[in-house]
Each structure stands twice: as structure tokens, then as C-alpha cells.
């Protein structure tokens, strides 16, 4: 069963905070839920499905359902694939709505890594460690050096350069200057990026996303609900998800799970790369964007460096406007999970509610892509394609 046209995104909300001192994690989730319901014009008791990932406190959604006092829940999904989770949630919510299991699905993401650090909050203990951890932890992998190894290999195989990667940050910064909530609003140059300190070679500080608190929420609703609402309809056209990993030791860090989640989404939506007017691409690091663009078929594999250069991702300048909110690289990467904010800006673009300086004209079809875990080694990928009412 296809989800095409069977569900809509009726509400979005991005928490304005970037440092959530004095606010608890469940409070952030609840504020996001309230915000997204207000955006859609619905109330708490309309919600009959709840979706959250590992960032939510407690056990798999049930503690947040209790905290928020939701009482009409008929569908619960706590799929956890890191930062890509929320793209998968939208897909799962659309599937559940298409199958008639629910009509108003609430998805929330929240985090407060900055505030946790400032207030010295003890992190929650996780469950059992991943099975690979015994063979990885002794070597001190960090998020940055694991992504840096992908970049190094991509450079080796395809001649990609640090300057080309820098263009991705430059494009994001051009967009972030217009976003009053963005953590970093200054426009940077290619030179600024490659002259910023090396964190883990070959990645520099400006190749890395920001660390922020806050979060986001979306409401996925059935067509009959959408018809009753005043907000512009954003139709879910197709979605795909995948998990890519180390393949038992046949490691290839030059591509991502987008190579598998992308084609499924395009096929279901019945559109091609040429139809996409705007793309939200997960940008934990510049290399994440580059590999994802190749894997989604926006350019040939190995040609991503050339594709992103010279402002090709800048709205109003290039051929593929991306992350017009400033993305994770400049605006917001709440709770170290960027998939939610990717959906939010794609919805704004289709509604025509992006900042006027970055709004893509006649943005009828947009794509949002989420990446979770470690690029290439053990990751989740989620792709969703959205359209306006006429798409």
C-alpha cells in the first residue's frame, strides 16, 4: 500500500530556544506538542497517535503520553534510528493513517545537550551497549573522527577537496543570516571554513554542526482532517528508509543509506530529482550533505564536490536550494538530532512560509532527508518527499 496522498503534514513547530536553561526535557516535548497543535489549529484531545525516539524521557512514548495527558492514543511508535528517526516517524504515521489506524499523529523531538552540560546534569544510562562497542571503544571513536574518516576516503577515491566541502557551510550560512533564531547568523567564506581549527582531520570546526537545545514537532493527519483546517496542505508523496552498516567488514565509507532510501521515496512519489525544488539534507557535517546528495541522485557519485561548489546550494543563486533555515550547520541541531528540523523547513518551503529572502518560488515539491548514527558505519536513513495540494 502506498502512502501517496493518504496523509498530510498539518502542523509544524520549532522551539525558539537554543539553550534551554531552566526547562526540563519533558517540558520541552510538551511545549513542542502545544506549539504544533496551535500551528495546525487542533487540540490535545484530537491526537490519537504519538511518535517519539530515544530523546524522549522514559519508556517508548508512554511516559510522555502520561506527562502530556494524552488520552485518545490508538497508535504508538518509538522507532529509534538517531537523528533520522523523525523522518521515519512521518513515514510510519502516514502508513498508519493510510491503513485507518489513526487520524492525527503527533511527533516530537527535544533535547538539551548545552543546558545539560552547563547544569552538569547526569546523562541517562542507556541499555546494553551496541554489540560492536567492545571492538570500537578502545580506539576512542568520536562523532567527528568517524565522519572525518568518511570525508578522507571520499577525497581519496574522488578527489573531493576541503574547499568543496566548505561550500556547503558557506551556503548554509547565507541562509542562516535571515533566521532570527539561528545560533550562528554570520555569513562565512570558503577561506573562513578551511582556516577554522582542525577538529579531526580533514574536518574543520566549521565542517561541524552546532550543538543546540530545543526541538521540533510535526502533526501528520488524515486527508479528511486536513480539509477542516485553515493551514496550507502539505501532502506526503512518498518515503523510504534504510540502514547501512559495516557489512561484516566489507567497509565502504563513501556512500550512505540514502542510496537505498532515496529511490524508494522517489518511486513512491512518482517524481524525479528534477522535480525537487528544495531539499532539506541532513547536515551533521559537510561530508554528510555531500555523500547524501550523491546518493539521492542529485549528481553523479563522486561529483558531489563539484555539485556543491560556487553557491549551487544557495537559494536564489544555485540549482538546488538546501537547508534554507541555516540547517544544522548554522541554525539548529536540537539534541544532536537534525532530522526533525529538516522536515520543518521543507514544510515551510511548500507552504511558502520560509523567510522571503530564501523562499523558493513556486515550491510545489520538496525533499527532506535524515541521517542517524554514524555515516557509512552504522546508520539509519530516511527520505520523505512532500508536495503542495496540487502535486
Amino acid at each position: 500500500m502506498s502512502i501517496k496522498g493518504k496523509a498530510y503534514i498539518a502542523g509544524i513547530y520549532e522551539h525558539p530556544t537554543r539553550v534551554a536553561l531552566g526547562k526540563t526535557l519533558p517540558q520541552l516535548h510538551a511545549e513542542l506538542a502545544k506549539g504544533v497543535l496551535a500551528d495546525a489549529g487542533l487540540s490535545k484531545n484530537d491526537v490519537d497517535a504519538y511518535y517519539c525516539a530515544g530523546d524522549a524521557p522514559g519508556m517508548g512514548g508512554i511516559d510522555m503520553i502520561e506527562y502530556m495527558g494524552l488520552k485518545n492514543i490508538r497508535q504508538i511508535d518509538s522507532t529509534e534510528t538517531g537523528g533520522s528517526s523523525y523522518v521515519l516517524h512521518v513515514n510510519h504515521a502516514a502508513q498508519a493513517i493510510a491503513a485507518g489506524h489513526c487520524k492525527v499523529a503527533l511527533v516530537t523531538l527535544a533535547g538539551r545537550p548545552s543546558a545539560d552540560q552547563k547544569e552538569q546534569v547526569q546523562m541517562r544510562g542507556g541499555g546494553e551497549s551496541p554489540p560492536a562497542s567492545g571492538f570500537e571503544a578502545p580506539f576512542r571513536p568520536s562523532i567527528v573522527n568517524m565522519y572525518a574518516m568518511c570525508a578522507r576516503r571520499h577525497m581519496y577515491e574522488f578527489g573531493t577537496t576541503s574547499e568543496q566541502l566548505a561550500w556547503i557551510k558557506v551556503a548554509a550560512s547565507h541562509h542562516a543570516q535571515y533566521n532570527e533564531h539561528a545560533l550562528r547568523r554570520e555569513v562565512v567564506t570558503v577561506e573562513d571554513v578551511i582556516n577554522s581549527p582542525l577538529i579531526a582531520s580533514p574536518l574543520h570546526r566549521y565542517d561541524c554542526c552546532v550543538i543546540t537545545d530545543g526541538g521540533g514537532a510535526v502533526l501528520v493527519v488524515a486527508p479528511e482532517i486536513m480539509k477542516q483546517l485553515k493551514r496550507p496542505a502539505v501532502k506526503i508523496l512518498g518515503a523510504g528508509e534504510a540502514s547501512k552498516h559495516l557489512m561484516g567488514g566489507k567497509v565502504d565509507l563513501t556512500f550512505s543509506g540514502a542510496r537505498w532510501s532515496g529511490p524508494k521515496a522517489f518511486e513512491e512519489a512518482g517524481v524525479t530529482q528534477k522535480d525537487i525544488k528544495y531539499a532539506s539534507i541532513y547536515d551533521s557535517f559537510t561530508i554528510t550533505v555531500l555523500e547524501t546528495l550523491e546518493d539521492l541522485g542529485f549528481c553523479e557519485v563522486g561529483k558531489g564536490g563539484k555539485f556543491v561548489s560556487d553557491g549551487n546550494l544557495i537559494s536564489g543563486v544555485g540549482k538546488l536550494p538546501f537547508n534554507t533555515d541555516g540547517g544544522g550547520l548554522c541554525n539548529n541541531h536540537p539534541g544532536n538530532r537534525g532530522g526533525m528540523t529538516k522536515i520543518l523547513e521543507a514544510v515551510r518551503q511548500i507552504r511558502g512560509e520560509a523567510h522571503p529572502k530564501v523562499q523558493v518560488p513556486n515550491c510545489d515539491i520538496a525533499l527532506a532527508h535524515g541521517t542517524g548514527g554514524l555515516l557509512g558505519s552504522r546508520m539509519g536513513s530516511g527520505t520523505v518527499i512532500l508536495g503542495n495540494q496540487d502535486s
Binding site: 582542525l198 561484516g248 567488514g249
Partner: protein, 129 residues
């Protein structure tokens, strides 16, 4: 930065991985080997990740390999993380040690060196061959 000896963190060992880690105390590096499909794999585990057979065992490696990729973690005490492709086939996560990090390159030949953890085993790292 040259001649940097990284701090050695002891691995978490469980029932599945005890034989692998016990052998490291004797300076032996193993990968998983499936006797049904013939694949070498890493990390070792009882069921083959290629064919799901349980006819698996540890296979002793020569300890020789090639750098697949690497990253130098900058900071007060720089260290190098890498994926090394063993001559036996699998590519494994490790550190590159005891060499000039600024001269490292993908494709370089490396050999294993073991670092004692003080917990009855040793961690397999690599240096330039």
C-alpha cells in the same frame, strides 16, 4: 606529532568475545571465519553475518594490512583513528601509533602492535610496516 603512545582503554568483554580478547594477550589477532560460506568477517560473532551459519570460528591473522582511511584527532594529545583492511579481507577499526601522523596516507602498509590493557588482554593497534 610523532611517537605518541595512546592511552589504552580496556575493551568490554563478554561470552561472545572472550576467546578473541584472551588471544590478544598472546599477541594474536583473529577475525571471524565461516566454514559454510567461507567469508572472513569482523568483528567475530557466533552467527555468520553473511549467511547466518553457526559453523564459525576464529581465524588467526598475519597482522598485516593497509590503511583504508584515517583521521587525526587534534587536541592536547593527538591520536589517529583508522580503518585498516587486513590482508585476510575484513576492514577493522583501530588506531595508528608509533609514527609521524603527518606522513600517513591511505593505501599505506601497516602491521599490528598490541597494547596491554592491564586487564588480561591487549588492544590491537597498527603502525607503519
Amino acid at each position: 606529532m610523532s611517537e605518541t603512545k595512546p592511552k589504552v582503554r580496556a575493551p568490554r568483554v563478554n561470552h561472545e568475545t572472550k576467546a578473541f580478547w584472551d588471544a590478544t594477550a598472546k599477541g594474536q589477532l583473529h577475525v571471524g571465519k565461516c566454514d559454510d560460506c567461507g567469508e572472513h568477517y569482523y568483528y567475530p560473532r557466533p552467527l555468520c553475518p553473511f549467511c547466518f551459519s553457526d559453523k564459525t570460528r576464529l581465524a588467526l591473522c598475519t597482522g598485516k594490512g593497509t590503511i583504508y582511511t584515517f583521521s587525526v584527532n587534534e587536541g592536547r594529545e593527538p591520536y589517529t583513528i583508522a580503518y585498516v583492511t587486513l590482508d585476510e579481507g575484513p576492514t577493522i577499526l583501530t588506531n595508528i601509533v608509533e609514527c609521524d601522523f603527518s606522513k600517513l596516507a591511505i593505501g599505506q602498509k601497516v602491521k599490528v602492535v598490541f597494547y596491554d590493557t592491564g586487564a588480561g588482554n591487549a588492544v590491537p593497534m597498527f603502525t607503519v610496516a
